[in-house]
């Protein structure tokens, strides 16, 4: 197991190297010029060119790439072209809100979606099942920003229960932290709740037709332990897989959600960096996300061994 984990982590290095080269090349050939953004709309072409030179953007591709790789090898993600702050510190500033949003969304999603899917499977064909599945289709069809606006209107503007925007660090207290995250997490989670509920239902339906479930019922076990202990564990592999995929997708969903709810996370930093062509920041974030993505996949694979002892690495 340990050697497997080490091998998997080592395998991330070439993946990240390829991602880094790909992203760097893409940014190099993509249109746009940070110098033009920095100089402002009224600046002269000569000023823009001087700024390009001062940023080293006029150097050949290989020189720029080599310099960036050299710094990466020294654990230096570089400096933001715009803020003049280290990329690592910018990411550090922004990682807590994003991870918080993802964590709350994930917990919320699992707590709501899995029971919904189990109940739908248990009541398969009934009005309960149809209602849950109709809700799932509806939630899956709604864009995150629409859900976000509706939630903000109802729970912030009408009832005044929750704030419209912003983020409170966890260090300032659990409730203030959670209060700011409830609406964005529900908005972001709505799609995943729908997705995971459907997958859970399908997986449970398959398991509930197995002989050992019939045996469990014949032994007189109560419905709750049949569903949530015997059946769910055996249905868990596809559910865990989708949750893993969902975490990766959450990174993308966080971009929209953070913009709608003005959460100062990595999603918004990514958008801002792309619009400004802040190359070092974009590259740093892409590296981080690709690493997170590989890590999530590894955790998902390891989780399989917990839910299904037959799986061995």
């Amino acid at each position: 197991m340990v050697s497997y984990i080490v091998r998997r982590i080592l395998a991330t290095l070439p993946v990240m190297a390829i991602v880094a080269l790909f992203v760097f090349s893409l940014l190099y050939i993509a249109p746009g010029d940070p110098a033009a953004v920095i100089a402002g709309d009224q600046a002269s072409p000569a000023d823009v060119e001087r700024i390009r030179q001062s940023l080293g953007l006029d150097r050949p591709f290989l020189v720029q790439f080599g310099s960036w790789v050299w710094h990466i090898l020294h654990f230096d993600l570089g400096t933001s072209i715009f803020t003049n702050l280290p990329v690592a510190s910018l990411i550090a500033q922004r990682i807590e809100p994003t991870l918080s949003l993802m964590a709350v969304t994930l917990v919320l999603t699992i707590l709501i979606a899995v029971p919904l899917g189990v109940v739908a499977a248990w009541k398969a064909g009934s009005w309960v099942d149809r209602t849950i599945m109709a809700f799932a289709v509806f939630a899956f069809s709604l864009p995150v920003f629409v859900v976000g606006y509706v939630l903000a209107y109802v729970f912030a503007l009408q009832f005044e229960w929750l704030p419209v925007q912003g983020y409170t660090p966890l260090a300032e207290g659990f409730w203030p932290w959670l209060r700011n995250l409830i609406l964005p997490a529900v908005a972001l989670g709505s799609v995943y709740i729908a997705l995971i509920a459907r997958i859970t239902r399908a997986s449970m339906l398959e398991v509930l037709q197995q002989d050992y479930i019939r045996t469990a019922r014949a032994k007189g076990l109560d419905q709750r332990s049949i569903l949530f202990v015997h059946a769910l564990k055996n249905a868990a592999v596809p559910i865990v897989t989708v949750i893993g995929i969902g975490i990766a997708l959450l990174i993308g969903g966080a971009v929209v959600t953070e913009s709608v709810f003005a959460i100062p996370g990595l999603g918004r930093l990514t958008i801002d960096a792309i619009l400004r062509r802040d190359y070092p920041v974009i590259q740093g974030i892409v590296l981080l996300f690709s690493f997170l993505y590989v890590l999530v996949n590894l955790i998902v694979d390891l989780t399989y061994t917990l839910v299904d002892p037959r799986i061995r690495y």
Binding site: P31, G32, D33, A35, A36, V37, I38, A39, G40, D41, Q42, A43, S44, P45, D47, V48, E49, R50, I51, Q53, S54, S80, F82, T83, N84, L85, L90, Q93, R94, F145, V146, Y149, V150, A152, Y153, A156, L157, Q158, E160, W161, L162, P163, V164, Q165, G166, P176, S259, V260, F261, A262, P264, R268, L269, I271, D272, I274, L275, R276, R277, D278
Partner: protein
């Protein structure tokens, strides 16, 4: 239902909701009243007002750095850091004396050497500064409070150059910071203005915090724009970046923020309905829309093709696309200068007035030799102002019989592509859109877009000797009558040669909660004189 409709519906409904305290941050009543939370027009991504000349940087910098002079509401430069100035009879030597007791935020006194270093850095980047640099004999500190600027020829616009609010402003920094290469960012944000920048709380793209500078010595005169006594009535100003307009509107209605600099026109009706919110015109100097043509390549290298655009262009179409049906928000602009300012003129503007003449436009286009080649319009879709103008332009050019190659992209791409002088088929362009702050268009001083000095001109690189002659005549003008005469001739020449096509003059709103008072109309948000009750 589209996104815009949804926003309007929700914001409209939300405007009827009362505001409450439950969603307010956990501040005490006193602390809440001393903290002003402001939603700026854009993200403060860097904080060097000489290196980066975006308006949002200038607006934040006006809190932290002071200037020698400041433009007041009558557009006149008034003394700010300067106690008095003298100019020699031949106009070649300017001597300035600083006010006593000026201090930087690090406690150091403001000295002449700081001013000299700051002006040296500024003059490498600013159009007026470059003019001064070109005729400079010396710029030296005479003593701790006195400095001298010796010139090879008179420069009547000296005080305007030092006090203007167009970017980059002549902000004064400590010498050690001002010695930074003007094309590189400064390392520290130490000024002598009324507020200190809380660098440790800065989250670029999300939040910027300014704290009252206890040792700031405001002038005794009443504040007027960047002039007079900058009395801070709050202890702390927090800039909260909210990229989504609907969220910003909801946050203002909910009391989570106090002042929103630039509400989008769609959301203004709902904000006006809210009894806790004031809405008013933000800046009476407004903005001028711009249809910028490339003078280097066909068809717009021929003045007849450019005149064809002026003959057919309907400013009303552009303005309605920009600001909707609120006619109080726009005016036709048969020229290039800001309406209701001393130099405003309609001289030569007949071509932009009256019924639009497509027959004449097509005739001019044919005379220019245009024969259906693609016209590349590079349009930023992520800026509502450029997107709206681009959509109208595409239709206009098609109606004129032109073959439009519409390139829908983002502002970052437009920014780099417009700098390309290559033919459109090789990465260049023929048309792009932008807008100019009316404050920059009150005279030719900082009005880059009106210049027509070929290779040195702004994007599009127009060449027009008559235009350049009149720009210089304005700089040399000794009084307002001479200035007016020069600008009249300049306006006519710029329309005849079609330096660019103005698409109209438009205003925008600002909105703030009613527990905030002292908000004034102006070319940037002024925080001095603004107070708040809990």
């Amino acid at each position: 239902m589209d996104r815009r409709t949804l926003l309007k519906g929700l914001a409209g409904a939300g405007s009827l909701a009362a505001t409450g305290g439950l969603s307010m941050p956990a501040l005490s009543q006193g602390a809440a009243a001393r903290t002003l939370r402001f939603v700026p027009q854009a993200n403060l991504a860097n904080f060097d007002p000489i290196w980066g000349t975006q308006y949002v940087v200038r607006n934040a910098a006006a809190l932290v750095w002071d200037t020698l002079y400041g433009l007041d509401a009558t557009l006149q430069p008034q003394r700010q850091m300067v106690e008095f100035e003298e100019v020699s009879d031949d106009g070649l030597v300017w001597t300035f004396r600083l006010r006593p007791g000026l201090k930087f935020h690090d406690g150091e006194p403001v000295l002449s050497k700081d001013v000299v270093a700051s002006l040296t850095r500024w003059s490498a980047r600013d159009p007026m500064g470059l003019m001064l640099k070109a005729i400079q004999n010396e710029l030296t500190a005479v003593d701790d409070r006195t400095f001298r600027w010796g010139l090879k020829q008179p420069y009547p616009k000296m005080l305007l150059a030092l006090g203007k609010n167009s970017t980059p402003c002549a902000f004064i920094m400590p010498e050690r910071i001002a010695q930074t290469d003007p094309f590189k960012q400064i390392p520290d944000y130490i000024g002598s203005g009324p507020m200190k920048f809380a660098k440790s709380e800065w989250v670029p793209g999300a939040k910027a915090v300014f704290e009252k500078f206890a040792d700031y010595m405001p002038r005794q005169e009443k504040a007027s724009w960047l002039a007079g006594g900058k009395q801070m009535l709050v202890d702390r100003v927090e800039w909260v970046v909210i990229p989504d307009p609907a969220t910003a509107a909801a946050a203002l209605q909910n009391g989570e923020v106090d002042w929103w600099e630039s509400p989008i026109t769609d959301l203004v009706p709902s904000l006006k309905k809210n009894r806790n919110i004031n809405v008013d015109i933000a800046d009476p100097l407004g903005n001028i829309g711009s249809f910028r043509m490339n003078h280097l390549h066909p068809p717009f290298n021929d003045v007849r093709a450019r005149r064809a655009v002026l003959a057919a262009l309907s400013q009303e179409d552009y303005m309605r696309a920009l600001v909707g049906d609120d006619t109080s928000l726009w005016k036709p602009l048969p020229g290039f200068f800001t309406p209701d300012t001393p130099l405003y003129t309609e001289e030569g503007g007949e071509i932009l007035k009256g019924k639009r003449d497509f027959a004449a436009a097509k005739k001019l286009l044919a005379e220019s030799g245009y024969s259906g080649q693609p016209v590349t319009c590079v349009v930023a879709q992520d800026q509502p102002i450029t997107k709206a103008q681009g959509d109208v332009t595409a239709d206009l050019l098609k109606q004129m019989g032109m073959n439009v190659d519409f390139v829908a992209t983002d502002w970052g791409t437009v920014g780099s592509r417009r700098a390309q002088k290559t033919p459109p088929g090789q990465g260049g362009w023929q048309v792009f859109h932008t807008w100019h702050a009316g404050a920059d268009c009150i005279n030719p001083a900082a009005y880059n877009a009106i210049r027509a000095n070929g290779d040195k001109a702004w994007f599009g690189w127009p060449t027009s000797e008559p235009v350049e002659k009149e720009v210089l005549a304005w700089f040399d003008a000794k009084n307002l009558d001479e200035e007016k005469a020069a600008v009249n001739r300049l306006n006519r020449a710029a329309l005849e040669d079609v330096v660019y096509a103005p698409t109209g003059f438009f205003l925008s709103y600002t909105a703030w909660r009613k527990n905030v008072s002292g908000v004034v109309k102006g070319p940037l948000p002024f925080f001095w004189g603004v107070s708040k009750t809990a």
